[in-house]
Symmetry: C2
Subunit: 353 residues, 2 copies
DNA sequence: GTGTGTCATGTAACCGTTTACACATTCGGC
DNA sequence: GCCGAATGTGTAAACGGTTACATGACACAC
């Protein structure tokens, strides 16, 4: 049995299709009597408007696309979560597509979404991806995330990675650390690059020697870096390009018999949920990832509605000091604990130390 | 400037719209000359077919919906990843909607997707959600995940949670542990319930006393449970309802000065990526989450194509023995290491101990 | 009683595809 | 030279909504 269409509803309610449409969209004048008849018919027939037909005549799909380089790990799920929450509030749907590390794949994803979405949220940490996608969006509203493409002055949200790194290094210096190493992210990643350059800048500014180890943004590479450092001539602090690598470093140090923070202080970047749960809890630069997602969606919808956009928006990470850089001083740290977003229900009484 | 439509392309290529359509869909006979002219026009006009119009005339949207209780944490991102990868291979798009813990929200999500998708992947660990959504799918192809709803004999994939729990307990018993506690997941979650009942069954079967502590499936609740246990009369093993709680337990034990596995062995469930990266690496029941996602999508598409479905498919978790239950015996464990799916590029030489 | 304005409703054109069917062309077989 | 068959192409009717415009009913003022 084919699903009911608007004409079936109109026939059953003994009104015209126009009235049905008006009732369903809350637009135009209708008497209460008509409204009631229509609603009954809709209910009886289990009628759901065909979104394709609707988008055909209104040229609006009430759907936005989210294109990400990957879906792996806490960062992306947190981001989608923020976008999804905001989208549901506004009655929008989300088409996601991930694993677009390469320029070509990302461009294909953009193309395949044309005509299917009203706008795009596009994350492209690689420079070429940013350029390749810019060529094919063709007038579609877009909000870009963490995209460092030169000359990109369109709507975007970028994290002040460089500034965050400077804050991290300055914090370590203020604790009296001087032999500070950096575990960098992948070299083709613009965010990793910005964090590295902030580190180099701050070290140079303080007259200290820089020491950089390459990593991949994953925990395993952090662990390798940590083993390297533990084996070497001795550093008294490590600033890692993200939290997962910082955690890897901490585990490696622990394996090597070094104490954190006494022997080596560790700082991460992102403040993923895990960061406040490990011991010692990780000092890091907090980015409210879900909030970035929400903000991206809100700005995208504003753009779709034809409002002028604010252009580039900069998010400044906040230094959250926890056990991995400070001694056990429960009072100051308690104030910095992240409220955990619990899987099912958040009970507030978890004890972080 | 409005985007080009099929008539614009036809005019420019000096052919009819039917020929354009045939070229674009690869259906029906066309000469090479026609194909070439059409392709040139498509290229020149940057033509992209309007998916709404297409879905209107074919009543296919080439889109499937994914409805999840939540998006938080590694489990869900891994699942979506599997679904997304399979969908892209087959040319399908994905509409995701999360945070449907409650029956009503889930039912609303299903309704809002009717007419917009060709089928649904529906995860509903709560019994009422399963029932509420069953009422509104109305003939739409559906694959259900981890849904324990009574009488549900439609297409679904369920994890043998009970069997996994039995294997975990038996493993601990084989190591000589007898005072084995269980940290359970939320009571309204069907998976948590099945894991609990497997534990109880295995303990009873071995003539051992059961000890159950309530948790939430998140790390903070595992930590609380671990503190409780460390403070108490002494257990020699803990089987947690999922990996995140197991990790929380391990951290708490560590804080309390207990050694793992020497004093207390710990077993988790799921094998999230993190499980093999912590120290000691966590013994757990591996579920290939991404593979479940892929399989769900494949079966959904088969169903959409009108093929008969296999009904309920059961996934048996595999016991992966790591450091949290066995002494340092590198050889046997090395074989069980999970290949890490790296954030950006997996380099194989990470050293797990 | 006629003219005018308001308001609810109906009619039909249009949105951009696919595709059944009709048509035109070419070719081979006789 | 005529008759199918085969092949490529075009025409037009769906598909299921939205909405500009027309229509009809009714109230009110003159």
């Amino acid at each position: 049995m084919k699903p009911a269409n608007i004409r079936d509803v109109a026939r059953r309610a003994e009104v015209s299709v126009a009235s049905v449409s008006r009732v369903l969209n809350g637009a135009g004048p209708v008497t209460d009597a008509t409204r009631k008849k229509v609603m009954e018919a809709v209910e009886a027939l289990q009628y759901v408007p065909h979104s394709g037909a609707r988008s055909l005549s209104t040229s609006r799909s009430h759907t936005v696309g989210v294109i990400l380089p990957d879906l792996y790990g806490e960062f992306f799920s947190e981001l989608i979560r923020g976008v999804d929450l905001a989208a549901r509030e506004r009655g929008y749907h989300l088409i996601v597509s991930s694993s677009h590390d390469e320029a070509e794949a990302a461009a294909a994803a953009v193309r395949s979404m044309r005509g299917r979405v009203d706008g795009l949220i596009l994350m492209s940490p690689h420079a070429e991806v940013g350029q390749a996608t810019a060529a094919v969006t063709g007038g579609l509203p877009v909000v870009r995330l963490n995209d460092g493409a030169a000359g990109a002055d369109g709507p975007s949200i970028v994290v002040d990675n460089r500034g965050g790194s400077v804050a991290a290094v300055e914090h370590l210096i203020s604790l009296g650390r001087t032999r500070i190493a950096h575990v960098a992210g992948p070299t083709d990643n613009l965010e990793a690059e910005a964090r590295l350059s902030g580190y180099l800048e701050a070290m140079a500014g303080a007259g200290l020697d820089a020491r950089v180890i390459e990593g991949d943004f994953d925990m395993a590479s952090g662990r390798r870096a940590g083993l390297d450092l533990a084996r070497g001539d001795g550093v008294d602090a490590v600033f890692a390009g993200n939290d997962m690598m910082a955690l890897g470093v901490m585990l490696a140090l622990q394996d090597a018999g070094l104490r954190c923070p006494e022997d080596v202080a560790v700082v991460g970047f992102d403040d993923v949920p895990l960061a406040s749960l490990v011991r010692p809890a990780l000092t890091t630069l907090r980015i409210d990832i879900a909030e970035i997602g929400r903000s991206a969606l809100t700005r995208l919808l504003a753009q779709i509605d034809g409002q002028p956009d604010a252009g580039r928006q900069i998010v400044r990470p906040e230094l959250v000091i926890r056990g991995s850089t400070s001694g056990p001083d429960a009072k100051t740290r308690a104030a910095n604990e992240r409220t955990p977003v619990a899987h099912h229900s958040a009970q507030g009484d978890h004890q972080d130390v």
